[in-house]
């Protein structure tokens, strides 16, 4: 058996795989900021083609009030105009990377219509991203309504 050749194959594979993995984690935060921007723009423009690409097939969203959406329901909600944004500003975006997973938290100030009724406010939002086949996909989204300034004593 040619042990020298086997050792060389292992070493060569390591030299290819390790730097690639290192590079992916190194710029992951920037990648996540990029896809976060893309999803915000897609929601604002009701760009369902982009949402189709950015959301994982088993995506779930829990919106304020505990309303639960899967990917198809979320896209239909936007496509039908039931959810329509006029503004959708993201602030205080924080990104944490755990290998092939990223967790983002942010404040989303929005104005638009929800089921035909005017709606506005600020939500604390959490998104979970998982890298699937080389692309970051959003697997989970949850929003929690922040109390409005008027509701404070």
């Amino acid at each position: 058996m040619k042990w020298k050749q086997i050792a060389l194959v292992f070493t060569t594979l390591s030299l290819f795989v390790v730097p690639r993995a290192w590079n992916q984690s190194g710029n992951a935060e920037q990648q996540i900021k990029g896809v976060s921007d893309q999803i915000s723009v897609a929601m604002l423009k009701a760009d369902t083609d982009s949402l189709e690409k950015l959301l994982a097939d088993d995506y779930t969203a829990i919106r304020t009030g505990g309303v639960f959406f899967n990917k198809a329901q979320e896209i239909e909600y936007v496509k039908s105009g039931a959810l329509k944004y006029e503004t959708n500003d993201v602030q205080d975006l924080k990104v944490r990377i755990y290998g092939r997973t990223a967790v983002t938290t942010m404040l989303v100030s929005y104005k638009g219509t929800l089921d035909g009724k005017p709606s506005s406010g600020t939500n604390r939002a959490t998104r979970v991203w998982v890298k699937q086949n080389g692309n970051w996909k959003c697997v989970s989204y949850q929003t929690t309504r922040m109390p409005s300034a008027n509701s404070k004593p």
């Binding site: 086997i6 050792a7 944490r96 938290t105 939500n123 959490t126 929690t144």
Partner: protein, 129 residues
């Protein structure tokens, strides 16, 4: 140079690491269910030593009012009695596993006191890495 020894070491390391990674993935759902139950019990009992062990150092919790608690703040809330559960029943638990990450969704029917105010019923998502 003893290439046969080098090759054997590399192969042995691979044989040890791959099955370990595989076995961890196979039982992840059960591990998460158990961990979820333990976490729930710790919340009910105000068991901060368990929370100390199970929450990551960079843990964040978003509360129903949108406020964000760090690990230290969360544990302090339990220690001080600012968060106190009377009941906390988990239903409709769904677990999704992505490698070393898990996302669970559930309905949590709880009765608790937060900062002196009674709080009943919520929906939650939990993430474990």
């Amino acid at each position: 140079m003893k290439w046969n020894r080098i090759a054997l070491v590399l192969i042995t390391v691979s044989l040890l690491v791959v099955p370990l990674a595989w076995s961890q993935g196979g039982s992840t759902e059960q591990q998460i269910k158990t961990l979820g139950e333990q976490l729930n019990a710790a919340n009910l009992k105000g068991d901060t030593s368990f929370l100390e062990k199970v929450l990551a150092d960079d843990y964040t919790g978003v509360r129903g009012d949108g406020s964000v608690l760090t690990k230290a703040q969360e544990i302090e809330k339990y220690k001080s009695g600012a968060i106190k559960y009377e009941t906390n029943e988990i239903k409709d638990l769904k677990i999704r596993v992505y490698g070393h990450t898990e996302v669970s969704t559930s309905l949590s029917f709880s009765k608790n006191i937060r900062d002196g105010k009674e709080h009943i019923g919520t929906t939650q998502t939990e993430l474990s890495v």
